[in-house]
Amino acid sequence: MAGPFTSVKIYVPQGSLGVGLFPEEVDYAIAWGAQAMATDAGSTDAGAAYLAKGISKNDRGSVKKDLTLLMAAQQKAKIPLLIGTAAQAGGDLNVNWTRDVILEIAREQGYKPKIALLYSEQQQETIKRKLAEGKVINLPPLGDLDAATIDSCLHIVALMGPEPYHKALDAGADIIIGGRTSDPAVIAAFALWKGAPAGPSWHAGKIAECGGQSTTSNTGQRGILIEIHADGFDVEPASPKFKATPDSISGHLLYENKSPWRLTEPGGELDVTRCEYAAMTDSKVRVTGSVWDPKPYTMKIEGASGSQFQTIMIVGISDPLVLAEPEVFHDHMLLRLTERAKSATGLDESEFHISLRMYGYNGVSGVKPPPGSKPMEIGLMGVITAKTQALASEIAKACNPYFFHMPVRLGMAMPSYGWPFTPGDIDRGPVYQFVLNHVVRVDDPMELVRMEMIDA
């Protein structure tokens, strides 16, 4: 290193790669003197489908558009671009999908960046070995892990810290495409690599993880600038249109976090209990007092399963007889569909599941509304779950006439409810779920990570 650490400037262009980028913000950040660009590209929030299928949540065209701007800035300013949790889930397929978009842009634009790929997807056998060695630790509310649960996973990823990014930077990478990574880690990585103190680096990473969301722009589509000093960090929007205030910045620790005070990360805990937030200008906040508390190195593992399948049907109901007695209608319908499913398939009730959601009445809550509640209309969604798609589909088709025509009470004239689509039954695919909530102990931050360098 060229001398004692003074400060480092990082531009976080957006909350998630592909949500849309403002070209004037990129120019503003480069003019400000950004030394690196870092963004995450995913999250578990939208469910397990993206890990299970290895697909992006954001559209390829949108991701390509954002990457085209960022890669142009990378070429122009000669600063590294770090991307964490590629294509929503950070599995190997997600990393490769992002790699292919980047290679396509490089080819089209004539760029020759040095690209590092960081893979953190895990074989089931690796996790089973860790389990046998007693190196898997439960996180509440889940209990002990067993081999069958590991076997049920379609893909498993381990959450990386900043160290793999350091290895890629050491190797001279211009662009780093990371698999599943802690959001703050991908942002803090460059600062830590430059010798910035751990507490402020991790805290700045956390504040900037959703891009400009912690500023008055209040959206992850906007960018944010962080400058980490020896004793704290400054944060400001990547646009003169917005502001950052001590409340907006300190309030971000509340967002999507179980605890607002302590954040467990690979290799330690960020403690912000004693932080102070001071307004430097009306758009810049200085944060001091962030503490990094080193712990034995662990990586959180995430695994997605999809062993059950669903078929859905939707009808709209305005029939006043149904609207007058939604509960009676619901219970009667569930009974009739269950009986029909049993007779059509010969299966026991325990081998399939039918759920009816009455949107407009209690579709979201699922609980009985206060007495006298009368819906204007009901959107009735039937969700049939079974162990194969063919079986779920068979049950839906067998139930179709009842779902379509069943009156509130037997003996009433036959109604016909309003289908919005044809065909009426929709094979929705597997029920993807995260089934792991555990951390594994590792001897080295690279133990479960593979790095590959490629030239565009």
Binding site: G47, L254, E256, N437
Partner: protein, 102 residues
């Protein structure tokens, strides 16, 4: 006796990972934060009853500097399970808006 929604400027809920929900109660004044954030009507037992969960899992985090009470609890069913109705848990705050504060 005010309801929770009468003493907060904003109330929100969201998943905190696939197995937890977190609710932020942003009180509208220091006075209301001091007066109501420790109300028995917001106790672990009271919250657990609303969401049909074990009170032992409910955790309270008061943040006086922001006049916020954060309450986190384990999801009754994991995110995306077969009876999912609110994948991001973004609607869960609604069921506590009318809690009457003692």
């Amino acid at each position: 006796m005010p309801k929770l929604k009468d003493v907060c400027r904003h109330i929100r809920s969201k998943v905190a990972g696939p197995f937890w929900v977190t609710i932020d109660l942003m009180f509208d004044s220091q006075e209301n934060f001091d007066r109501y954030s420790q109300s028995p009507a917001l106790s672990a037992e009271a919250i657990a009853k609303v969401y049909g969960i074990d009170p032992k899992g409910v955790v309270h985090y008061p943040v006086p500097s922001l006049k916020v009470l954060k309450i986190s609890y384990p999801r009754k069913t994991p995110q995306g399970s077969i009876e999912e109705r609110d994948l991001h848990s973004g609607q869960q705050y609604v069921y506590i808006l009318d809690i009457e504060l003692g």
